[in-house]
Amino acid sequence: MTPVIALSLFGIINLFLGFTFKRQSLQVVTLLFIICSMALTAMDWNHEYLWFGDMMKTNNLSINFSLIIQLAGLLVVAFSNGFGKDEVYTQPAEYYAILLFSLVGALLMVSFQNLIMLFVGLEILSVAMYVLTGSDKRNLRSNEAALKYFLMGSFATGFLLFGIALVYGSTRSLYISGILYNLSHTAPESLPSFLYAGIILMGIGLLFKISAAPFHFWTPDVYEGAPTIFTMFMSTVVKTAGFAAIYHILDVTFGGFQKNWIITVYFITIITLILGNISAAYQQSAKRMLAFSSISHAGYMLLTVCANQPSTSSNILYYSLAYTLATAVSFAVLMVVAEYQTGRTEKPENFDALNGLAKNNPSLAFAFTVALLSLAGIPLTAGFWGKFFVFTDMFNKNLTYPIIIAVLMSAVGIYYYFKGIISVYFNSGEIEKIETSFLFKIALWSACIGTLVLGIYPTLLKSIF
């Protein structure tokens, strides 16, 4: 609870600081705010609290999710370069404030115990993202992305709300503990049939947010249209928070009803994997490819949700962390290269714009390569262990056929991730040395080293998760 209060206050303070501070110092101040709230989160380690009469719960699992989400926020702020250069971003304080508020929404989504809290958290996160997506006002694609995201996101929230209403109607309680208690004390035959509809509808509402197929159609356009720094935020924070919520709803609350929702989620997972990977292979734009790759990674994480083993929560945490680090680095590199190429090429976000990056920017090229290798799941990087733990979960549950599909799609994934590596190292192009700020370099290197260290020694964090 303390980080929620802290982040809300910090957001408001940030708005006021916009009057007095310069852009670069505002970035540092926001970083300090987020570090402060991470410290507050970590202080509750190994305690279990219930806040406001079972509205929110703080336990190790929620602390871990909160830390990953705040780490993602930290990386986004560090990569943001103070929003100073482009005259579009006139007032950075507002962007940082909205970022902090959306972190509040994400934190609510990972520690909720009441379905209303889930809804409030989801809405705070989503509305903040709708605003940030459209923040590049002069760019037509940004406006289009914001409108698409808003319309489809509100529709999905409507589904979620309908599902909550049906679940409430059948279990007479909005609290997760109340639902579990009532469901276990009623005979299965006397459960009203609209409970199952409610579960599926809630699932659909949440699956939209993590862009599972067939609810993924908004993802490529929204990710491509939004300013890259906010795409980074969307693909890391929103996904992690969404998966925490899905885990709480499908696996924790309705784990006993798995035979009702498993077939639907099973098929959604398989279609997600296939559609995400195959569409990504056809993309020319690196940003769009990363959007489709985020769809395919949602597919992998859904696999472990389907498996519903005792180790599922720690595997989701590990995968989210590996995915967050890799995506943040890849979007960061894409962002600086696109900024450099904006006047010089027609399509600054294509793979061709990355050609020849390694010649004058070896550290950027190396970081990009490590990030793409982690996304592809090559050993030596954290992404490999993420996929390994997912496969282990699935074998434990004897889901052998989706594994074959997951493996085949991994192979497809290698193809399109390597397009990026080939462009950066082996194609020829003219890119001069790109200047990046000190904070950017620190964030890039720490994420890169984190990926490699976790790739060699995953126990470091797996033991905590």
Binding site: V4, S8, G11, I12, L15, W51, F52, G53, M55, M56, E87, V88, T90, Q91, E94, A97, I98, F101, S102, V104, G105, L108, N114, I116, M117, V120, G121, E123, I124, V127, A128, Y130, V131, L132, G134, S135, K137, R138, S170, R172, S190, P192, S193, F194
Partner: protein, 171 residues
């Protein structure tokens, strides 16, 4: 009169105005009929003892949203936008789809069994404003306060997006 008489009267009025929304030629008439439908539905809410919901329905739905609809419709030039009558195939397809929805709904409603309310915990005055307020400000205080964050984001966002930048066109 019995309550059920009120119910039949109100339902009839609702259905009639809903039909008129679809069938009337003038869009402004459709909007006004829709507003009337909302008022009738609010009347249903009163019959269900959901006072607060009636008030919110009228204020928000009929008041704010439909007025927005009216504004947008007034901005259109109505004379140009008379849509052609759709082809026969489209009409047939529409009928089939809507008809199947009707069949499914009727079948569902016939077989569904509503759980009976639990005598001990059922409070008929649940929808009354005071009871709602009591629950909202005691048990659900945390989400209530957190919604302020949501409003804050919306306000800041709308100002940020709508602000006039240097070099924007003047509409």
């Amino acid at each position: 009169m019995e309550v059920s008489n009120y119910w039949y009267f109100l339902s009839g009025l609702t259905l009639l105005s809903a039909l008129m929304v679809v069938l009337s030629k003038n869009p402004i008439h459709s909007v006004l009929y829709l507003v009337f439908t909302f008022f009738c539905i609010s009347g249903h809410y009163v019959l269900l003892n959901a006072q607060f919901l009636m008030a919110v329905n009228i204020i928000v739905y009929a008041g704010a949203i439909m007025v927005l609809f009216l504004f947008v419709i007034m901005m259109f030039d109505l004379k140009k936008n008379i849509p052609d009558s759709k082809t026969n195939l489209t009409k047939l397809a529409g009928t089939v789809v809507a008809g199947s929805v009707l069949v499914i709904l009727v079948a569902a409603f016939r077989t569904i069994q509503y759980p009976t309310p639990d005598e001990s915990t059922f409070n008929p005055n649940n929808g009354m404003v005071e009871n709602l307020g009591k629950v909202l400000y005691s048990e659900y205080l945390l989400p209530f306060e957190l919604v302020t964050v949501l409003f804050f984001v919306a306000m800041v966002g709308s100002v940020m997006l709508g602000k006039r930048e240097v070099g924007d066109r003047n509409f």
